[in-house]
Symmetry: C2
Subunit: 293 residues, 2 copies
Amino acid sequence: MDEDAIETFRKFNRFYTQTIGVLTDRYLGQGRPLGESRVLFEIGADGAGVRELRTRLAVDAGYLSRTLRSLQDQGLVVLRPQPGDNRTRTAQLTAKGRREVAALDERAGAVVRGLLEPLSATGRADLIKAMETIRRRLRLASITVGVVDSHSAVARECLANYAKELDRRFPEGFDRRQLVAAGEARGARGAFVVARENDTPVGCGVVRTMEPGVGEIRHVWVAAGARRIGLGRRLLSELERQAAARDLALVRLDTHVVLTEAIEMYRASGYREIEAYDDNPYAHHWFEKRVRD
Amino acid sequence: MDEDAIETFRKFNRFYTQTIGVLTDRYLGQGRPLGESRVLFEIGADGAGVRELRTRLAVDAGYLSRTLRSLQDQGLVVLRPQPGDNRTRTAQLTAKGRREVAALDERAGAVVRGLLEPLSATGRADLIKAMETIRRRLRLASITVGVVDSHSAVARECLANYAKELDRRFPEGFDRRQLVAAGEARGARGAFVVARENDTPVGCGVVRTMEPGVGEIRHVWVAAGARRIGLGRRLLSELERQAAARDLALVRLDTHVVLTEAIEMYRASGYREIEAYDDNPYAHHWFEKRVRD
DNA sequence: GGGAGTGCTTGACTAAAGTCAACGAATGTG
DNA sequence: CACATTCGTTGACTTTAGTCAAGCACTCCC
């Protein structure tokens, strides 16, 4: 790997965490320990369950409990038991708490404004675009893509999400019986590929054998929160790799007319539109691509 | 200002400091308090004065003193009085300290490598480019540009730097007597513009009146450490603003043939090459631009 | 209805970070 | 040469952050 890239990355890291991070962390801790501010911020306008806060902030239960107690004593937060389960509790901001968060927000915004101010319009646009690029790329980097057993719980979960989404998006709904049988998506005949972000599945795809030398890619799904970062392409290229490894030199796929982003992605990934190769009731476009020679 | 831009900035900030910052901070604090690691890192291969460390890390004198003492006890650092002044001390890494820093470095590199690994070559290049963009833009944002008295110490310091640089770069050297008289670069007749980064001057420029309605821009200098971030353009546009404010609708400037970046910049900033308007012995190209109508 | 398990709180600490003032040695200055 | 300054050190804290285990109150499930 390019050592220069690593060096630049680290330089950026130092610069950002020290120069910008310090600036923006300082505002958060205005007269209040950073831990408390973070909790306050995380509760947000809608309130949040204690358990939820704990996982989102990744802090010790006791520590969080004490922080919440302190915020409560300051009159910023109220804790009440969640209806239905008296063990759990939810935190909600009081009016005073909301004002406090708004002030926090205001200060944070002012710092950022101050940083953007001296830049020209193009400079600003350039900067913002670069930030989006970094977020997209690094997020993609934290997602792992790999083959799982098509009978596994995670595979079933992904397919359920996929089916639910299609049912929502297709005007005619979606019938789960159209899903590929698990037996076709494993071993020598096919593969089930899953994308995971911190262990939660955020995407999947299946490749199966149609006939000797010809595979079909199906059920490519990307979770709503993980779109527009290039995950679809990454799934696709892993599926193609799996196909090639099974001597499927040609892969085909079909798609529904409402899935415009998918159609775009297939085109951009080198898929060529072809005649209908099946009578899938949900298909309006058919594609193929040669994945090995 | 665009509220979306601020929102995106803040989102990036949260993402970066939480996701990436945490990752890369963790490596630093391997078995050693983060404060100590930071000091170790900051001392670096060349060693550093205690005072220097204090300003660079922005920590309390007592705190730093204790940290250094602890590092010394661990055999990672030696402190010796600076020759010439027995009050001050410098810190230097021992062989063991150097090994420790190298290990730290190695770990930090590995984390970054892990982040870059899953990306494609284009993805990686894209990411690195975006990081450079952000650094450049934000750095420029932290630099202030404004008018100072041409007799002030900071103005003289800038001009001295300018003259030194030209003397180094021009094959024929540079004679300081060619500098504009301070009286021409102030008040109604002209202006002295200085760019400062955390109070240290990193660039300057002068505008003076040549004849009614015609100004001349001279002595545009950008410190070596602050180049390629767009500071030259920013200085230039401030100088043009100052000219316009003095009813100088047309500004001219000349430049030496070896200053290729400057020539580029003038062209890119809308300057048009013209015939020689003076007999400056160091000039090979002459430009002009209309800055108000 | 009685265990097993869950969800949060409390107690009891430790480590790290950060602050403030007093101090002593060294160095400039009139 | 006395006096003010500068530089770093030390003592004596306080505040945050973070950890671990014990303990209730409640819920779930047989």
